[in-house]
């Protein structure tokens, strides 16, 4: 990440990679600002995020289906698809990169529509159903660099298990992150960088 860093509402004239500015976002996120992000934007996220992956999502949906409250409020929150390694002594967390998001595709539309979740962080493409729900709810899907768990770990300033301790690495953790590098992969208008990114490269190459 190089070049000028701008605040989310700041001027976007400075060019980072791909000609886009690097945009700083803090939680709690402002929905309007979140919805102004576009697929391909580079973002540095600071604030609170919650991990949840396969097993936690299954339990969330079981709660929602039974009409029971979730063990944490997801309203305007960000879920990070991640199952970290345990922390070594003097570390707040171990390696903590994203896991494959498509495994959460079965659950994500309901969670977006029923909890007020504002964003998801993961890796890899999403289904049409998830992209529709993202559009409908004004949410965003961010990509973090898969396999960069040590780098991301260095941006996590504190971690705490919130619930589902029995799931081990699949428990829900609350992370406080500082300048976590993300790319907007699906924006609130439904633009999908997993479709447009490779096409953009191929058309640039053939020019």
């Amino acid at each position: 990440m190089s070049d000028t860093i701008n605040n989310i509402n700041g001027a976007k004239d400075a060019k980072g990679v791909c000609g886009t500015a690097i945009i700083k976002i803090s939680t709690p996120v402002d929905r309007g600002a979140l919805m102004s992000l576009r697929a391909g934007d580079n973002v540095l996220l600071t604030g609170t995020i919650y991990t949840a992956r396969d097993a936690a999502h299954k339990r969330f949906i079981e709660c929602i289906d039974k009409g029971e409250p979730l063990p944490l409020s997801l309203d305007n929150q960000i879920i990070y698809y991640c199952g970290p390694t345990p922390p070594a002594p003097n570390h707040c967390i171990g390696s903590a990169g994203p896991t494959t998001s498509s495994r959460m595709d079965k659950y994500a539309p309901d969670i977006l529509r029923k909890t007020g979740l504002s964003a998801m962080i993961g890796k890899g493409g999403r289904s049409i159903d998830v992209i529709s729900a993202i559009k409908e709810c004004g949410a965003v899907y961010f990509a973090a660099a898969g396999g960069a768990g040590a780098l991301i770990s260095s941006r996590i300033k504190s971690s705490q298990i919130i619930c589902y301790d029995d799931l081990g690495p699949e428990a829900v953790y609350k992370f406080e992150v500082e300048s976590m590098p993300l790319i907007v992969a699906v924006d609130s208008a439904g633009n999908d960088l997993y479709e447009s990114g490779p096409q953009e490269y191929l058309s640039q190459k053939s020019r």
Partner: protein, 281 residues
């Protein structure tokens, strides 16, 4: 008859689990650096830069390169003149794995039952152990910690002999392209051709044991490897599936004899964190 102590297998395996999780093989990191300098697409270059920075942080801070510290796969070449003293090989490897994953702060990623319980076994066991019995008194053990995200993207095709080389290329291309950004590209692709369904899958895994940048000794297969790499990278999927020149870092092919009616082809995809470590006892 040479004796290898149970305890030395345990200690070696323990250390291998930890070292493999923290430090990428030199050949893999060199290839990623080469991709970074060759990459023409800015977003892809940026991602490759993060991957290199990640490898440096992991090695320096002694923290796993990736939080998915994998299914612990072991490939053992054991001479017929070797005897394990103090217990059996299977127990030694599993004990070493449990210790390594606990003491190295690695993630236990194995559940006891795939369908009903799905309860984490905690120690990342059982390990999966493949033993080849060879001549002599050697004992060589390799760990391939295999991430779940990339493993899910592999595939098997029981092709017809008439499908020939075009059929193989089509299947490999479609499998890797279909995986998109899911297996953490740029990937290392192992291809196993021949044998039976099960043998082809194991061959694809064994193909991942070869250092990246080293072609098959048989020129025809070396040419196939280079051709497949070119085909895969022509997809434009790129690092993390977000566009770019490098969808795969390398393709390795292994083959074996097969039935007159068959041409099995298996693909095993490894993420860019293509961890692998060998020890000789």
């Amino acid at each position: 008859m040479r004796t290898v102590l149970y305890s030395s297998i345990v200690n070696t395996v323990r250390q291998m689990c930890i070292d493999a999780a923290y430090v990428l093989p030199d050949d893999v990191l060199a290839r990623i650096k080469q991709a970074h300098s060759d990459e023409t697409f800015p977003r892809a270059r940026d991602i490759l830069g993060q991957i290199i920075e990640n490898a440096n942080i992991a090695a320096e801070k002694k923290i796993p390169v990736c939080q998915d510290t994998g299914f612990a796969l072991f490939f053992v070449k054991m001479g017929c003149g070797v005897r394990v003293d103090g217990g059996n090989l299977n127990d030694a490897v599993n004990e070493g794995t449990r210790k390594g994953y606990a003491e190295g702060y690695l993630r236990g990623s194995i559940v006891n039952d795939p369908v009903f319980d799905r309860k984490n076994t905690s120690g990342n066991t059982p390990a999966l152990i493949h033993v080849d019995l060879v001549d002599g008194e050697q004992f060589e053990i390799t760990i391939l910690p295999k991430g779940g995200g990339c493993e899910n993207m592999g595939g098997l095709a029981m092709l017809k002999p008439a499908d020939g080389l075009p059929g193989i290329i089509k299947f490999v291309r479609e499998t890797v392209a279909g995986a998109g950004g899911n297996p953490c590209p740029p990937t290392v692709v192992g291809v196993g051709i021949g044998g039976t369904a099960d043998a082809a899958c194991l061959l694809a895994k064994k193909a991942l044991l070869r250092p990246v940048g080293v072609n098959h000794a048989d020129n025809r297969y070396a040419k196939l490897e280079n051709g497949l790499l070119e085909e895969i990278n022509a997809s434009g999927i790129g690092p993390q599936g977000l566009g770019g020149k490098h969808t795969a870092l390398w393709v390795s092919v292994e083959y074996m004899p097969c039935h007159i009616a068959s041409m099995p082809v298996a693909v095993s995809i490894n993420c860019h964190a293509a961890r692998r470590l060998t020890a000789v006892l």
